[in-house]
């Protein structure tokens, strides 16, 4: 029974997400959009199932919420910091720098989320992955002390993602 259910709903979270996205697109909560969203939410994961075999399990839902709040807060803070650098710091005083972040994460999905988070927080852009995917190359707009940036990213983001995905 569970096996059959798993075959029909290979990615239950994706089903819910697609339904919500469809209702939001329609922008009017109605039975119509709910039913059609559900149909899409069932068909799309079913059809794309072969392309996404080893989906990681999300273990820690409160941590997902905490992670989102931390990231949103960091985006606001970093925006102000970077705006100050752009407006008031002379180019000669600025120290752009490459930072290498050794990864403890191994699941591709977790690394993708980490790299996306680093890019979306102003001041850091993730640029490349090492050949076997063990290190992440990050460019910093102003980092006199690269080790501090590395420790902060590992401490704030990677530790939480490890609890969510692994």
């Amino acid at each position: 029974m569970m096996k059959l259910l798993h075959r029909i709903f290979p990615h239950p979270h994706l089903t819910i997400l697609l339904t919500i996205v469809w209702i939001l697109l329609a922008n009017k909560p109605s039975l119509n959009s709910l039913v059609f969203g559900l149909i899409l939410g069932i068909i799309i994961p079913f059809v794309t199932q072969p392309y996404w075999p080893d989906r990681p399990k999300l273990r820690n839902w409160p941590m997902v919420a905490e992670y989102m709040i931390v990231v949103l807060w960091d985006i606001v803070v970093a925006n102000v910091t970077v705006a100050r650098i752009v407006l008031f710091k002379r180019n000669e005083d600025r120290r752009p720098n490459w930072v290498c972040i050794p990864l403890e994460l191994r699941t591709p999905e977790a690394i993708t989320v980490l790299a996306g988070t680093i890019t979306m927080t102003p001041g850091t852009v993730s640029c490349d992955l090492s050949a076997q995917g063990h290190n992440l190359l990050v460019h910093c707009l102003d980092a006199p002390n690269p080790d501090q940036v590395r420790d902060e990213i590992k401490q704030r983001y990677e530790r939480r993602l490890k609890e969510i995905f692994e």
Binding site: L24, S130, Q132
Partner: protein, 128 residues
């Protein structure tokens, strides 16, 4: 009530305007290509975020109906913006950076962009 709503909307719009401006100004002011890549991340986060908050506030407080499809814009931006940035960064590494210019890649020795087979007639790497 209307006044407070309008004040709130105006504040959101001004915040987004300021960060949109700083993002564009950064493109002119910053002096190397990798740093210039940082400027648009501000415009896509707080710049767009401010407009979306203003739009949600407007529809809730002034039109009296809940409109949340602005959240989708944030969702889609957060999915697409890092990919664009990664493409530009990888292009820059491919054309303008030597493996020796980048920090050590640890046990993997090379960064993924450099790990592809080197073609002989690659244009001059030192032009940075």
């Amino acid at each position: 009530m209307t006044f407070i709503a309008e004040l709130l909307i105006a504040i959101f719009l001004i915040v987004s305007g300021i960060f949109g401006f700083v993002g564009s100004f950064g493109m002119i002011k910053l002096n190397d290509p990798m740093s210039r890549l940082h400027a648009p991340t501000k415009a896509t986060t707080l710049g767009v975020g401010g407009v979306l908050l203003a739009s949600i506030t407007h529809s809730v407080l002034l039109e009296g109906k809940l409109s949340l499809h602005e959240l989708l814009i944030t969702l889609f931006l957060f999915l697409t913006a890092p990919i664009t940035a990664l493409f530009i960064a990888k292009w820059h590494i491919h054309r303008h950076e030597l493996p020796s210019d980048l920090p050590d890649a640890g046990e993997d020795e090379l960064w993924a962009t450099h790990a592809v087979e080197q073609v002989e007639d690659v244009p001059d790497h030192s032009a940075n």
